[in-house]
């Protein structure tokens, strides 16, 4: 059998790691040995120092446009279906995460496209009037000049729920010319490491300002060292993880955190016409099924309006049928006992309710926990146990739903929306005030667009430090010019 060695980490060329743990994974007659480094705080210190030096000597000297070009070149490699590393990712990521192979292949491909040059330029323009402000002082409309400095160093702490989300953060750091340590999760450490290999193929000196290191979450000595090293800290994951890192981070450091969020969908009666409803159902099932709802962009509740051609209850049944079909096409990952039991409990709770009242109904896969739809005649708001399980609430008017969100403001994320244009602003204003920070079409809920305000904030702006040259200084200095009249 052919064997291939895969490093689930990336460190600059000058660093020599010696202790490793290996795992072997077989996919379609090919054997992969995945190597994980055994790390100590001293390693982090040594790697950190090397990254900082590499940044100073090279990355910090590049212009933003040069950085954009180099990222684009690496992304272009990934847009070739036969690219060696893409094929490894397509084979290994499903094996490591349990996600369906076709789903991973398709979503990765789509995802990579969002980092091409045109998207990166748009991303920069979205946040800076003139991205050159990252390279030099630029005039301001109000007079004077300003320059934006990214952090010298960023410590990224990733979660492993959705393959590739780490790239977003890493690329953001590169655009700011920051050295980076990316701590990956054992549940998906591969893609960031593979992407760094691609960057290395494009420009090794650039890649060597970044290290990708997997270690077990909550390992105090390593976390402390890395937090200490980073001028800024970006953390993804559960509220618990965020809170722990926040405790460790000194007050003067920038900390961006992306904790627990919940998304939902709203289907107006205009989308429930004979023409549209089947398409709406199909796309909604995709939103629920992609990456088994492990992304916070994926809906856990759906609000369906009365008075459409199909009733909310029929909609729930239709959604069940679509989830069934999607599962046939792209099966859900195998769950841990706890995850499966959580779905069983969820079903039990509601099927017991359905025995007492017609207001609740449970539609679910028969022989396993593959998909579950809970229909409620009375609107409310609740989470689901994920892994393709969802609430469908019947509502008279979508405008009435916002009241149910009061307690959950800080958890709300995306809203997938299917209503007539006339209702867009009234709903968006109302839900925006309730805490929602992104509206997307149904079927696109998992695919945030470049330049979006992640969890309602800026991406680059929040990390930079602005330096101002005042207007008066600019003119005042003129008099010291020995050649002045």
């Amino acid at each position: 059998m052919e064997t291939e060695l895969i490093e689930a980490y990336y460190v600059p060329e000058s660093i020599k790691l010696t202790d490793f743990r290996q795992e072997s994974i077989q996919v379609k007659g090919r054997k992969y040995i995945v190597k994980y480094p055994e790390l100590t705080a001293e390693h982090i210190e040594e790697i950190g120092a090397s990254l900082q030096a590499n940044r100073k000597d090279y990355l910090a000297q590049l212009t933003t446009n040069e950085v954009v070009d180099k990222i684009d070149q690496a992304i272009q490699l990934w847009l070739n279906p036969n690219y060696r590393l893409r094929r490894i990712a397509d084979a290994l990521i499903p094996a490591v995460t349990g996600y369906d192979q076709d789903m991973v292949r398709l979503e990765l491909k789509r995802y990579m496209r969002t980092f091409r040059k045109k998207e990166l330029l748009r991303f920069l323009d979205e946040e800076f009037d003139q991205p050159a402000i990252l390279d030099d002082f630029r005039p301001r409309k109000s007079g004077g000049m300003s320059r934006a400095y990214g952090p010298n160093t960023i410590f990224h702490l990733f979660s492993g729920n959705v393959p590739g989300v780490q790239l977003w953060s890493l690329i953001m750091g590169l655009l700011l010319k920051s050295a980076a340590i990316g701590k990956t999760s054992y549940s998906e450490p591969l893609l960031p490491a593979l992407f760094l290999q691609s960057l290395k193929e494009v420009d090794e000196r650039l890649a060597d300002a970044i290290a990708i290191l997997p270690w077990k979450g909550g390992t105090e000595s390593l976390d402390n060292m890395a937090v200490n090293w980073g001028e800024a800290v970006i953390v993804y994951g559960s509220n618990k993880t965020v809170a722990e890192i926040r405790k460790k981070t000194p007050i003067h450091k920038k900390l961006l955190s992306y904790g627990h969020k919940i998304s939902f969908a709203m289907i107006g009666k205009e989308a429930l016409t004979a023409d549209h409803y089947s398409d709406t159902l199909h796309k909604l099932a995709e939103d629920i099924s992609i990456y088994d709802q492990q992304s916070c962009l994926s809906p856990q509740c759906v609000y369906v309006e009365q008075d459409g051609v199909v009733s909310p209850k029929q909609f729930a049944q239709g959604l069940a049928a679509e989830l069934f079909r999607y599962h046939k096409k792209r099966p859900r990952a195998k769950l841990t006992g706890e995850e499966a039991m959580s779905i069983q409990n969820f079903r039990n709770e509601h099927s017991l309710k359905s025995l007492q009242s017609q207001k609740t109904a449970v539609y679910s896969s028969k022989d396993d926990t593959a998909w579950t739809v809970i229909y409620h005649e009375e609107p409310s708001f609740s989470g689901s146990p994920l892994n393709r399980s969802v609430h469908v609430y019947a509502v008279d008017r979508l405008e009435e739903v916002a009241d149910h969100f009061q307690q959950w403001e800080s958890y709300l994320q995306s809203c997938g929306l299917a209503v007539e244009p006339a209702r867009l602003f009234s709903l968006a204003n109302m839900l925006g005030a309730a805490g929602v920070n992104r509206f997307s079409p149904i079927g696109e809920m998992n695919r945030a667009k470049p330049g979006w305000h992640h969890d309602g904030g800026f991406n680059l702006m929040e990390l930079v430090r602005m330096v101002d040259l005042e207007r008066d200084l600019e003119y005042g200095l003129e008099k010291y010019d020995s050649d002045v009249e």
């Binding site: 729920n161 959705v162 618990k240 856990q300 706890e338 959580s342 409990n345 958890y411």
Partner: protein, 378 residues
């Protein structure tokens, strides 16, 4: 009680009587167990309306169910949400309730029109598993008696144990102010001095408080040979987590009672029988300590795959379901939220199945509820 209910309880009592000392002919037992289980299922399907509806949702009925394994197990949440009884609940002799730790307003209830079956089901296995080597002994109980908490099946159990098997000086050390440590220590010292074997009985977490007290006061005991310690319930977060085996080690230090004479009982309000470690039984019979749990001949425990709810192979962890023929008034088949795995000698209890956690930024309902209650996820 309805005529049919009297008939069915008589059948259950006959079964208990026949198998009270264990199973001699396995094949015959299997057949009789299956026959009675199906009869009970049919009875419950007819007279327990919420259960009937539940079965109909699961598309199961007495015509389609041919094996006890196919009887739809009622999830234990059902004992909170529904009124599960074949006889009118107003006439029940007792109703046992769960402690309702997660939501005090929602307690699981198991109604007992008569405690005849419950008492018989308690008595014989207790003798078999806890006291295989003696008829009676001094019992010191660390948890409340039935008169203090009439809705607690454990209190009924402990009171019965003392009544059926307790020697004259058996006592309860639980008063209005809780555990009476001082009195307990001085009475235990008397047993030690007179070299009289004693059995301590109580909820697992009661021992944690007791051991703390003994340690603080520098008290240790050398209990007489044959003394034993019975605990039940395990740790469910009411007290600090101590691994069970660590607890048994501490029993040895504080009381000089060997592991072979420590026994854990696994009971549930939703059942009418109890399940035991085979520690005392196996060390009396065979001289080795078997720790797997097993129930009396009228209880079967199966481990199900959490994904499919079908039985899984020995050794794999899964969710525990019980079929308890003594649970004649509510549901004989129940689905727990406990995790276990089957072995050749019984099953191992691995603990409560924890709620699922999302792997990243998404939040699963269990975590969400916890955070809404001000719990761990902040």
């Amino acid at each position: 009680m309805k005529e049919i209910s009297i008939v069915i309880t008589e059948k259950v009592l006959t079964f208990i009587e026949k198998y009270k000392n264990g199973i001699l002919n396995k094949e015959e037992h299997d057949q009789e167990f299956n026959k009675l289980a199906l009869e009970l299922f049919s009875y419950q399907f007819q007279h327990n309306m919420p259960y009937k509806k539940y079965c109909q949702v699961k598309k199961k009925n007495p015509l389609t169910v041919k094996r006890w394994l196919d009887i739809p197990p009622m999830p234990i949440q059902g004992f909170k949400e529904l009124t599960l009884a074949c006889e009118p609940i107003e006439d029940a002799e007792a109703v046992f309730m769960t402690s309702g730790t997660t939501n005090p307003d929602q307690k699981g209830r198991n109604y007992h029109p008569s405690l005849k079956v419950w008492d018989a089901s308690m008595k014989h296995p207790f003798k078999q598993f806890v006291l295989p080597d003696r008829e009676k002994m001094t019992i010191f109980v660390l948890s409340p008696a039935a008169d203090m908490n009439e809705n607690s099946s454990l209190s009924r159990y402990l009171s019965n144990a003392a009544a059926y098997f307790g020697a004259e000086n058996s006592q309860f050390f639980f008063g209005k102010k809780g555990l009476e440590m001082e009195k307990f220590a001085s009475e235990l010292r008397k047993c030690e001095q007179s070299e009289e074997p004693v059995m301590l009985m109580g909820a697992t977490f009661a021992y944690v408080h007791l051991l703390d007290y003994l340690k603080e006061n520098g008290l240790q005991f050398q209990l007489a040979k044959g003394s034993r310690i019975f605990d039940t319930g395990g740790f469910k977060g009411q007290s600090r987590e101590v691994e069970m085996e660590e607890l048994y080690k501490q029993f040895h230090t504080s009381f000089q009672v060997d592991r072979s004479l420590c026994i854990n009982m696994y009971g549930m309000t939703e059942l009418s029988s109890q399940i035991y470690d085979q520690s005392i039984l196996s060390s009396c019979l065979e001289g080795d300590i078997r720790l797997e749990k097993t129930g009396p001949a009228w209880v079967k425990t199966v481990i199900l795959d959490p994904d499919t709810l079908k039985p899984i192979t020995n050794g794999q962890a899964g969710v525990i379901a019980h079929i308890d023929l003594a649970n004649w008034n509510s549901c004989i088949a129940i689905l727990t939220q406990d995790e276990g795995c089957q072995t050749d000698n019984g099953f191992k209890l691995l603990g409560r199945i924890k709620g699922a956690e999302a792997r990243g930024c998404s939040i699963a309902v269990d975590q969400l509820m916890q955070s809404a209650l001000g719990g761990a996820s902040i």
